[in-house]
């Protein structure tokens, strides 16, 4: 598969190496630099949604997560981020339908928060909310060529000041993303892929 374009939205993942890891699969990764948390929810109309300025795209990666900082995230932040994610998915679907593209929407969620992190209740709430949002949207897309899936990645913290909060294994992420972007994966919809190298085995998934 060649010549596919992905847009990544969100500040939950350091993508410096992900773009390089996707290149061998013929996937170009663009990012929307603004963090989901840092701005007001996206406008309702797709015309002013940042996605509309990204050019034609085949898929959207949504990577919401709060980055540790001196001021922890608040419940207002959580509400803003979830609303932004909703608007982003809505804009992506509208774009896919308008262009008759079998688009892919993929959530990227950190494993610790998704499985339940005792030190990070807000990110755990965010991850749980995203899982359920994606399940519901997948159901609604069932009769369309659009698929909606979630990839849970093993995150490790990054201390560098300019890095995103966490980094997944870029090569591991890239291969799963490339698979989900393939034309043969229409039957994979509403699924959650735990790419945690087995760290979740023996634990109930949310």
């Amino acid at each position: 598969m060649t010549g596919r374009a992905l847009v990544l939205v969100g500040n939950g993942l350091d993508t410096r190496d992900l773009a390089a890891a996707l290149e061998p699969f013929g996937i170009a990764l663009a990012t929307i630099a603004r963090g989901l948390r840092d701005s007001a929810p996206c406008d309702e109309t797709r015309a002013v949604h940042p996605l509309s300025r990204s050019g034609p795209f085949d898929g959207v990666l949504l990577a919401p997560a709060f980055v540790d900082g001196p001021d922890g995230p608040t419940l207002d932040d959580l509400l803003d981020v979830l609303t932004s994610c909703f608007s982003c998915i809505k804009a992506a679907i509208a774009s896919f339908e308008e262009r008759a593209v079998a688009g892919r929407v993929i959530a990227l969620l950190p494993g610790d928060a998704t499985m339940g992190d005792p030190g990070d209740a807000i990110n755990s709430a965010l991850a749980g909310a995203m899982l359920s949002l994606f399940r519901t949207v997948a159901l609604e897309m069932r009769s369309t060529p659009i698929t909606v899936n979630t990839l849970v990645y093993a995150a490790r913290a990054v201390d560098e000041p300019n890095a995103g909060g966490t980094v997944g294994d870029p090569e591991a992420l890239a291969s799963v993303i490339a698979t989900l972007l393939g034309s043969g994966t229409r039957g994979i919809n509403g699924q959650e892929i735990y790419a945690l190298a087995g760290a979740d085995v023996g634990r109930l998934h949310p």
């Binding site: 979830l82 749980g128 399940r135």
Partner: protein, 252 residues
């Protein structure tokens, strides 16, 4: 954890499920501060609870009001001497496919069904930590598994499930359990207002062949609120008549 905690708080207390939970808990001796948007409904609830072993105090409020959690906490502390039980039962449901759902509606659904309960937990958990015991219960929904047309509601309920897992781990060393219940289709006034053909279709998708009752949920809450459930935490108990393991959409 004693059989009867020092006091409890329940939100959404005048609604279909909330009312049943309040009466069941008061019947079992729990003293409760009960809140709901519906002042008239709360008044009726307090009257109905009169004479039960537990006391029910009504305090009208909106879970989106940032001052409500502390006001409820203070009332429970003043009248009952503590808060050993929190039941998040407030809820708001309005469905629409994602393409047609306005952003404002999505935000409202998440605000009421997720952010409101989290504000309550944020206010009450420290009191329980100081006491070294407590039960936090939230009424989630089977929609957490995904439900056509319910992107906002489902998203919020998924958030409840996610935070339940995290807080259960964080609060377990303090003697506090955190669980949630995910009801399926429950016979409430809202459910009875569905068009007959939709109702019929939903009922056909329930393996046990009936809608759930508010008493089904009350029995679970009584168990999880009591001393016998101290080894259960971080769980989502799905009470849906088997719908979550069958095809949720029955053929019409």
């Amino acid at each position: 954890m004693t059989e009867r905690p020092s006091g409890g708080i329940i939100t959404g207390a005048a609604g279909g499920i909330g009312k049943a939970l309040t009466l069941a808990l008061a019947g079992a001796g729990f003293d409760l501060v009960a809140t709901d948007l519906d002042q008239g409904g709360l008044d009726a609830l307090v009257r109905e609870a009169d004479g039960l072993p537990g006391t029910v105090i009504g305090m009208a409020g909106d879970v989106r009001d940032r001052d409500l959690p502390l006001a409820l906490r203070d009332r429970a502390l003043t009248d009952f001497g503590g808060v050993g039980l929190l039941v998040n039962c407030s809820g708001f449901l309005k469905d629409s496919r994602i393409q047609k759902m306005p952003e404002a509606l999505f935000r409202q659904l998440v605000d009421i069904n997720l952010i409101g309960p989290l504000r309550l937990i944020e206010a009450i958990a420290p009191v329980m930590q100081m006491a070294g015991q407590g039960r936090i219960l939230s009424i989630a929904s089977r929609a957490w598994l995904g439900n056509f047309g319910s992107s906002g509601y489902s998203c919020a309920k998924g958030g409840i499930v996610g935070v339940t897992r995290a807080l259960a781990l964080a609060l377990a060393p303090h003697g506090i359990t955190v669980n949630c219940i995910a009801p399926g289709f429950i016979e409430t006034p809202m459910a009875r207002s569905l068009p007959p053909h939709i109702l019929d279709r939903v009922l056909k998708a329930i393996p046990v062949g009936r809608a759930g009752t508010v008493d089904d949920i009350a029995a679970l809450v009584l168990f999880l609120a009591g001393a016998g459930s101290g080894y259960i935490t971080g769980q989502t108990l799905v009470a849906c008549g088997g719908r979550s393991i069958s095809n949720p959409i029955a053929s019409s």
